[in-house]
C-alpha cells in the first residue's frame, strides 16, 4: 500500500449526494494546495539555495530564487575534507551491512517464531523485542567501550551493529507477521514432499515473504543512512564520518563562517537517496510503517 493508494479500497468518507460541487469543496481544495506548498517549500528552497553561487547563497537579505544557476556549492562538497565519495561510501557501506545483518538475523528468527512451538517461545519473543524498551541511547557508552577494545570504533561493521540493534525488533516483528500470513497448507505440503526445515525456509517461505524482506531492507537502509547519535560517537575520525556527521562538519566550516550554499548542497545530497528509495518503494514503506506501529 502506498500513501497514494492508501484508500483505494475504502469508500469515500464524504458521501456524494448530488453531482453539484458544494462551495466547501473549493475551500478544502485550497487548503490542500496550501498544505502542499508549505510542506514542500523547505525542500524546494533548500534545493534552490544549493544551486546559487556561494556569494548569492550567503547574501543578506537573501533572495528566494538563484540569480544564476551554479554548481559551485556541489563542487565544494565534493572536495570537502576527505571528499564526498568517502562519506557516501561510509554511509552506504554501513547501511548495506545493516541491511544484510537485519535480513540474516531477523528472517530466520521471524520464521522460527511464526512456525515452531517451542517451550518458552513467548519469553524469547519478549527478549527479542527488548531493544524497544531499552533506548539504544542508554547503552551506547558500554558498547563504545567494548567496541573500542576490539577495534570496532571508527569501523563500518561497528556502527552497522549499532544500527542493527535499532532495527532488529521491528524487523523480527515484521518477519514474524509475514511468515504467519503464509497458509499452513503450503508448509504441510512441503513436509509431505520431504523437504527439510532448511529447504522449507529457503525454497518455500522466503520467496513468499519477499515483500516483508523488502520492507525490512528498506527501513534498515533509511534508518541507518539517517542515524545521527551513534554515528557521532562511533565514527569520530574525519575519514570515517557518515553523511549526517559530514553535514554538521560542513556547517561548522572553516574559521566559523558558515558556507550556506555548501550546507544546503550537502543537505540535498543527504536527502536525495532517501526520497528516491521511498518514492520507488512507497508501498512497502507504508505497509511496514502500519504493521510496525499498530498491528
Amino acid at each position: 500500500m502506498s500513501v497514494a493508494t492508501l484508500v483505494s479500497t475504502a469508500r469515500p468518507l464524504r458521501v456524494a449526494r448530488a453531482r453539484r460541487i458544494p462551495p466547501s469543496a473549493y475551500i478544502v481544495a485550497a487548503i490542500a494546495v496550501a498544505v502542499c506548498a508549505i510542506m514542500a517549500a523547505p525542500i524546494v528552497l533548500s534545493f534552490l539555495a544549493s544551486i546559487k553561487t556561494t556569494a548569492d547563497a550567503s547574501a543578506a537579505p537573501p533572495r528566494y530564487l538563484p540569480e544564476t544557476v551554479s554548481f559551485e556549492s556541489y563542487v565544494k562538497v565534493l572536495n570537502y575534507q576527505a571528499g564526498l565519495a568517502t562519506y557516501v561510501f561510509n554511509s552506504g557501506l554501513v547501511a548495506l551491512i545493516t541491511i544484510g545483518a537485519c535480513l540474516v538475523v531477523a528472517a530466520p528468527a521471524g520464521y522460527g517464531l511464526a512456525r515452531y512451538f517451542m517451550r518458552g517461545k513467548e519469553i524469547a519473543f519478549l527478549i527479542l523485542l527488548s531493544p524497544i524498551m531499552i533506548p539504544y541511547q542508554a547503552i551506547l557508552t558500554p558498547l563504545y567501550l567494548d567496541f573500542a577494545k576490539v577495534g570496532l570504533v571508527n569501523n563500518h561493521l561497528g556502527l552497522a551493529i549499532v544500527h542493527t540493534i535499532l532495527q532488529l525488533p521491528f524487523s523480527i516483528f515484521l518477519m514474524r507477521s509475514s511468515f504467519e500470513a503464509i497458509p499452513r497448507e503450503i508448509e504441510e505440503a512441503a513436509i509431505i514432499d520431504g523437504c527439510s526445515a532448511w529447504t522449507r525456509m529457503t525454497k518455500v517461505f522466503l520467496p513468499l515473504a519477499v515483500p516483508g524482506l523488502v520492507t525490512v531492507a528498506l527501513f534498515a537502509f533509511i534508518n541507518s543512512w539517517n542515524e545521527f547519535l551513534a554515528a557521532l560517537i562511533f565514527m569520530n575520525r574525519e575519514t570515517s564520518f557518515t553523511v549526517p556527521i559530514l553535514l554538521v562538519a560542513v556547517r561548522t566550516g572553516k574559521l566559523g563562517a558558515v558556507d550556506w550554499g555548501a550546507l544546503e548542497a550537502s543537505v540535498m545530497i543527504s536527502i536525495v537517496p532517501c526520497l528516491g528509495v521511498y518514492l520507488a518503494l512507497q508501498r512497502y514503506y507504508i505497509s511496514g510503517l502500519l504493521s510496525g506501529a499498530v498491528k
Binding site: 510542506m39 533548500s46 528566494y64 530466520p108 547503552i139 499498530v294
Partner: protein, 304 residues
C-alpha cells in the same frame, strides 16, 4: 512382545515435538545478537553506574554515589523538565495536525493523494538533514523564513531565533512538526479506513453533519490508533537529541539541553562515564514505563 504401532495422532505429535526444537536454531542467532549487543551492555551499564569510571580511566566502585549525585544535579532535572515540556507541547500539535491532515486527505482524489505524498516526504529524510535545513531557514541573516515573515508583514525585521530559550524551543517545535506530522497522518488515515463505512453511511442517512460524524464516529472509533501513535510519538520526543544538538547546541546558557543530550554531554564531552551510566539508567526506567504500555496495547490488539 511386539510394540503396538503408534496411532497417527501420536506419531504426528512426536514428529512435531521432534521438529519443534529446530525452532531454536532459527531464533538462536537473534537471541545471541540481542544478548551480546543489548543485554550484556545493559548489565555493563548497571555495573558502570556504580563506579567513578571516566573515559581516561578510573572505575573504582562507589556504590550508589552517582545516583545520589543525580538527586542534586540541577542540570539533569532541568534537562528532564525541558524534555517533558517539549514532549507535552509537541505531542498534541503533532497528533492534532496529523489528524487534521488525515481528514483532509483521506478521500482518494488526485489532489489529496499528492497532498498525502508531499506531507509524508519529510518523514523519510534524516533528522540531521531537516534540522540543518531549518537552522538555515531560521537564520537571522540568510534565513528565508525570516524574509518570508518580513515580506508578509508579520515581522518588521528578521528575528534572531536562537537567542532566547523560548524562541529556540519554538523553532525546534516548528521544524519537528514539519518533519514528522506525516507519520501520524498516515497512521490516522489507516485508522479511519479501518472503520466500517456502513457506520458513517448510516450516520449520513440519520442526518449527522460532517463534523458530528468526525467527532462522534471517526474519533472514538480510531481511539486505539490515536493512543498508540501518541505513545510512539511521545517516546520519540522524550529521547530527542539530534534536533537540539544541531539547532540550539543546548543553548542559550544550557537551557535547551534534553535528557539524552545531558547524558551525551556528561559521558562524551565531560568523559564522566560512570555518572553518565547512572543517568542513562534513570532515563531508561522512565522510558520503560511508556514503552511497556505501548507493547501491552499492541499485544492486546494483536490477540484480538
Amino acid at each position: 512382545m511386539k510394540t503396538m504401532p503408534s496411532s497417527p495422532t501420536v506419531r504426528r505429535r512426536r514428529a512435531r515435538r521432534a521438529r519443534n526444537w529446530q525452532g531454536w536454531l532459527f531464533v538462536g542467532p537473534a537471541l545471541l545478537f540481542v544478548g551480546v549487543f543489548v543485554l550484556i551492555p545493559l548489565g555493563q551499564l548497571v555495573a558502570m553506574s556504580m563506579t567513578d569510571r571516566s573515559l581516561l580511566g578510573g572505575g573504582k566502585f562507589v556504590g550508589l554515589e552517582n545516583y545520589e549525585k543525580i538527586w542534586n544535579d540541577v542540570g539533569f532535572w532541568r534537562a528532564l523538565a525541558f524534555t517533558a515540556e517539549y514532549t507535552i507541547v509537541l505531542t498534541p500539535i503533532l497528533m492534532g495536525l496529523g489528524y487534521a491532515f488525515a481528514l483532509l486527505t483521506v478521500d482518494n482524489t488526485p489532489l489529496r493523494r499528492i497532498t498525502r505524498t508531499i506531507v509524508f516526504l519529510p518523514v523519510v529524510i534524516g533528522l540531521g538533514s531537516s534540522s540543518l535545513l531549518w537552522f538555515w531557514l531560521f537564520d537571522e541573516r540568510v534565513g528565508l523564513l525570516n524574509k518570508l515573515l518580513v515580506d508578509l508583514g508579520i515581522l518588521s525585521e528578521p528575528m534572531v531565533w536562537f537567542i532566547t530559550a523560548q524562541r529556540a524551543f519554538w523553532a525546534v517545535v516548528i521544524s519537528i512538526t514539519w518533519k514528522v506530522v506525516g507519520f501520524g497522518m498516515v497512521l490516522f488515515i489507516a485508522g479511519i479506513q479501518s472503520i466500517n463505512p456502513e457506520i458513517t453511511e448510516a450516520a449520513v442517512v440519520d442526518g449527522a453533519g460532517y463534523w458530528k460524524r468526525v467527532w462522534r464516529i471517526l474519533l472514538p472509533l480510531s481511539r486505539r490508533i490515536l493512543l498508540l501513535t501518541t505513545l510512539i510519538s511521545a517516546i520519540g520526543s522524550m529521547l530527542a537529541f539530534d534536533q537540539f544538538y544541531i539547532m540550539t547546541s543546548g543553548g542559550p546558557r544550557g537551557q535547551t539541553f534534553t535528557a539524552v543530550y545531558w547524558i551525551y554531554q556528561n559521558s562524551f564531552v565531560s568523559f564522566k562515564l560512570g555518572y553518565g551510566a547512572a543517568l542513562s539508567i534513570v532515563l531508561t526506567l522512565i522510558i520503560l514505563a511508556f514503552s511497556a504500555t505501548q507493547i501491552a496495547l499492541t499485544a492486546r490488539s494483536a490477540g484480538k
